[in-house]
Amino acid sequence: MTDGRQPYDEDDRILAGEYALGLLTPEEVTRFEARLVQEPELRALYAAWAEDFVGMTDGIAEVTPPPNLLSRIEARIFGAAAKPSLMQRLGLGWVSGSLAAAAVAVVIGLNAGLFDTGPSAPADPAYVAQIAAEDGSLIVQAAYDADNGELYLRRDVGGAASGRALELWLIAGDNAPVSLGVLPETQAGSLTIPEGLRAQLAGGVLAISDEPPGGSPTGVATGAVLAIGPVSPT
């Protein structure tokens, strides 16, 4: 690509090719990348090889990834922002700060066909949430029916460890986390939200922790916080 105009060093041309193929030693890689930042010509040599070599993938057939993969990716990206502070809150209790604002910033869009299986989920939920682990290893969809106070839950990915239970928590405003109960062992199920807590769902955050069977004996989360997700209006 550069030829004729810029007769570049032959060794660098080879080096850029070896780098693009991944044939350099760790030391060579470090040296090459340090130069790469400084030298546009070297970047051009690398870019030309990258374009050339990618031709080797032309014959590789496309394969559609599983349908839930994008939501797992989104959970990793968008679920991560609020996690540390919320985990701190659950694990350590009160931590002041504009957590509500942080929670609003990580609202995750949900697809319309969310509750196509499981118990009779609300056709028109007042609130929904995706409660997801940062690494996508646990993803639970939630939808709240304001008419009967039921929170419908569907586990899309992951589940409780053997001999353990998953407990659902509501964090509303600056209040301490309140248990909403142990998640049903079935993939889909529902929990009744106590009347006194229903008004607090709006703007709240749902979290799932790892607990002994039957849930935390103390009323506060005793195990690791596995997943979180903000509650958003539909």
Binding site: M1, T2, D3, Q6, E10, R13, I14, G17, E18, Y19, A20, L21, G22, L23, L24, T25, P26, V29, F32, E33, L36, V37, P40, E41, R43, A44, Y46, A47, A48, W49, A50, E51, D52, F53, V54, G55, M56, T57, D58, I60, A61, E62, V63, T64, P65, P66, L69, L70, R72, I73, E74, R76, I77, F78, G109, G136
Partner: protein, 179 residues
Amino acid sequence: MTPDAIEEQIARTATGDRAAFGVLYSATSAKLFGVALRVLNDRSEAEEVLQEVYVKVWHNADRYRANGLSPMTWLITIARNSAIDRLRKRREGQVGLGAAEAVADAAPGPEALVVQGSEREKLVGCFAELEEGRAAAVRRAYLQGESYAELAAAFDVPLNTMRTWLRRSLLKLKECLTR
């Protein structure tokens, strides 16, 4: 989706546009998944790699412009490198690949232009001009992440011979591709 349209979605993704990110994923994930599957030959590992790839894409979309690659090359290279990295973790004592596709730089290099598809077709012809086995070594390095030592063992030649072969092949290949 055309290269321009993919570039547009990458540019929007760089501004934090989640809808554009979703569009980008829909348009490109099947190709990238195919590449990861080809390298890893393991579905769950390929799924894991594909997640890593798009997390990287989200975080590095603002750097795309600076690296001078065409949009699909950028995406496929991230996918290929991530898959090779994982493959090498399976094997022992191997270094991960470099991160040049994510190197940031304010000023685009002189070659920051889109390479046309015809160049890719040339690759096949130029591979054919290499001596027997040499093209296969380049392919194995690219698609299986094999090191010089592994290639030398596979082709039953001394390490330095393999290194010399491959470097000469790269020069020949480039000479052919640029004529």
